[in-house]
């Protein structure tokens, strides 16, 4: 009897242990994602709110973005089906230009905000990635809720998409690029030319 009860106890605790570790695995992943977004968000907000000139903010934010956002993965996604047909040279050139455009799109926004804060909500699975609910609070403006899609495919947690008002930034960008290439005879060079033109235009208007 004692043997049975002992074995039962043993099996029961083993089952509990397994169940516990099974349940803990996704919880731990979610915990990591939460920590990642919290630390990235805090650093970002600290730079945005700091009383330094805009140029200094841009300098500070650059390494932060490069470390925490998987720009190359987003770039590959945005080129869609044309990634496969592009030559290695085109791919390299495109990624370089995409990098510049994405970074300047983020740094352009830095001057618009002051006194912002954010809260992190629920974390859910979105395919292989984690989706983190976050709400951006700006003074005298309605709170903006968004979802950050975090992927660990590259080995470390990195942001691969932001969804605002139901629209995924990378998907919208991909359909923009795809439509442009398709209307220019399926030629990736047309896109590269347009992106170069965009960067020139941007740097001219910034001066």
């Amino acid at each position: 009897m004692t043997f049975f009860s002992g074995r039962r106890l043993f099996l029961g605790s083993l089952a509990l242990l397994c169940a516990g570790s099974l349940a803990a695995a996704p919880a731990r992943a979610a915990q990591n994602t939460h920590q990642f977004i919290e630390s990235f968000g805090k650093q970002l907000v600290a730079i945005v709110n700091s009383p330094v000139p805009l140029s200094e903010k841009k300098e500070k934010v650059l390494p932060l973005i490069q470390k925490n956002v998987d720009i190359d993965a987003i770039g590959r996604y945005c080129l869609g089906r044309y990634w496969k047909t592009a030559t290695p040279q085109q791919q390299k050139e495109y990624l370089g230009l995409f990098n510049q455009i994405l970074v300047s799109a983020i740094t352009d926004k830095l001057g618009d905000y002051r006194g912002v804060s954010f809260t992190i909500g629920a974390i859910t699975k979105s395919g292989d990635d984690d989706s983190v609910e976050a709400t951006l609070l700006r003074p005298q403006q309605p709170p903006a809720s968004m979802q950050w899609i975090v992927s660990s495919a590259s080995g470390t947690d990195k942001v691969v998409d932001v969804i605002g008002e139901g629209a995924s930034l990378r998907l919208t960008q991909r359909q923009d690029y795809s439509a442009y290439i398709a209307r220019n005879g399926g030629n990736v060079d047309a896109l590269i030319k347009a992106l170069k033109h965009q960067i020139e235009h941007h740097s001219a208007s910034a001066q």
């Binding site: 869609g80 089906r81 496969k84 799109a105 008002e165 139901g166 629209a167 995924s168 998907l171 919208t172 359909q175 923009d176 690029y177 795809s178 439509a179 442009y180 398709a182 209307r183 896109l191 347009a194 965009q198």
Partner: protein, 289 residues
């Protein structure tokens, strides 16, 4: 343009059709003529080139084609081009002038009024979608804002914890499981077969289209609708400027954003399972029981 639906949805041409048709034969003729001209111009446009885009044979291209859900792209792009010209030369300058001339608090009050006056339509759609909590909120918003909020100019209901929740017949149909159908770019903005039909239903659901003649109500209705269009546009000046500047193919970007946002919006309404009675009611009942 995507989320400017609030304003653009309340365009004058649809409402004039119902309100004035029976009582003013001359007016109805005028509108019939205008509609005929509109239909004719659409047909001419359609005649210029094929309406439907050819279905691609390449599997990857076919995948993109299916995802865009836009078989009438050639026609849509034509309408888009015409509307963007009209926007550039007419609506956008008017909206900019409106922002320049009217102080922010006044514009805010107009925005509140437009939202409140759209609540009956939102209410009927909430009922249609089987969402009692949302319907109740829309009803309460209407009652509070039309009385205490001075005809909707002050959003008192929002301060009392009843913020506006948008709904329209296109979303209600989506909640009934009706697919969106192909994408359409209509004169009032991005849409789809389903949302276009929804737009027509919404015109029927808005009590403002049934105002009697006299007492200046029809003039008020016209002014209100035109204000709705200009105000709706004025709220998206910077966004649309940025989109026109940054997108390589603004038409495709608007299409993508619109389709994603409509899908997410319909999903959000579907997943809104909040209780109809307030929390304190449950607490009180539990204490008594």
């Amino acid at each position: 343009m995507n989320s400017g639906r609030n304003g653009t949805r309340l365009r004058p041409c649809g409402q004039a059709h119902t309100a004035q048709a029976q009582e003013a034969p001359s007016a109805s003729r005028r509108f019939a003529k205008r509609h005929a001209v509109f239909a004719l111009s659409l047909l001419t446009l359609a005649g210029c080139s094929s309406i439907k885009a050819p279905v691609p044979t390449d599997p990857d291209a076919l995948e993109d084609y299916k995802q865009a859900n836009d078989p009438y792209e050639p026609l849509n792009r034509k309408i888009y081009g015409v509307m963007m010209k009209a926007d550039k030369w007419a609506l956008r300058p008017v909206a900019k002038a409106y922002v320049w001339a009217v102080p922010h608090p006044v514009r805010n009050a107009f925005g509140n009024m437009i939202l409140t006056m759209n609540e009956p339509s939102a209410f009927f759609n909430d009922v249609g979608a089987g969402k009692p909590r949302r319907a109740g909120d829309a009803f309460v918003r209407w009652c509070i804002n039309m009385s205490v909020g001075v005809g909707g100019l002050i959003d008192v209901a929002k301060m009392a914890g009843y913020p506006h929740q948008d709904n329209d017949a296109g979303l209600t149909l989506a909640n009934w499981g009706i697919p969106s159908g192909p994408y359409l770019f209509l004169p009032m903005g991005p849409s789809s077969i389903r949302d276009g039909i929804g737009y027509g239903i919404d015109q029927g659901l808005s009590p403002w289209n049934y105002v009697p003649r006299g007492y200046g109500l029809v003039s008020f209705n016209w002014a209100y609708n035109m204000l709705g269009v200009v105000h709706g546009r004025s709220e998206h000046l910077d966004e649309l400027d940025a989109l026109q500047r940054d997108a390589l193919d603004p038409y495709a970007t608007i299409r993508s954003a619109y389709q994603q946002q409509r899908k997410a919006h319909a999903e959000a309404i579907k997943n809104d399972h909040r209780a109809t009675v307030p929390l304190w009611y449950h607490v009180k009942n539990r204490q008594q029981g």
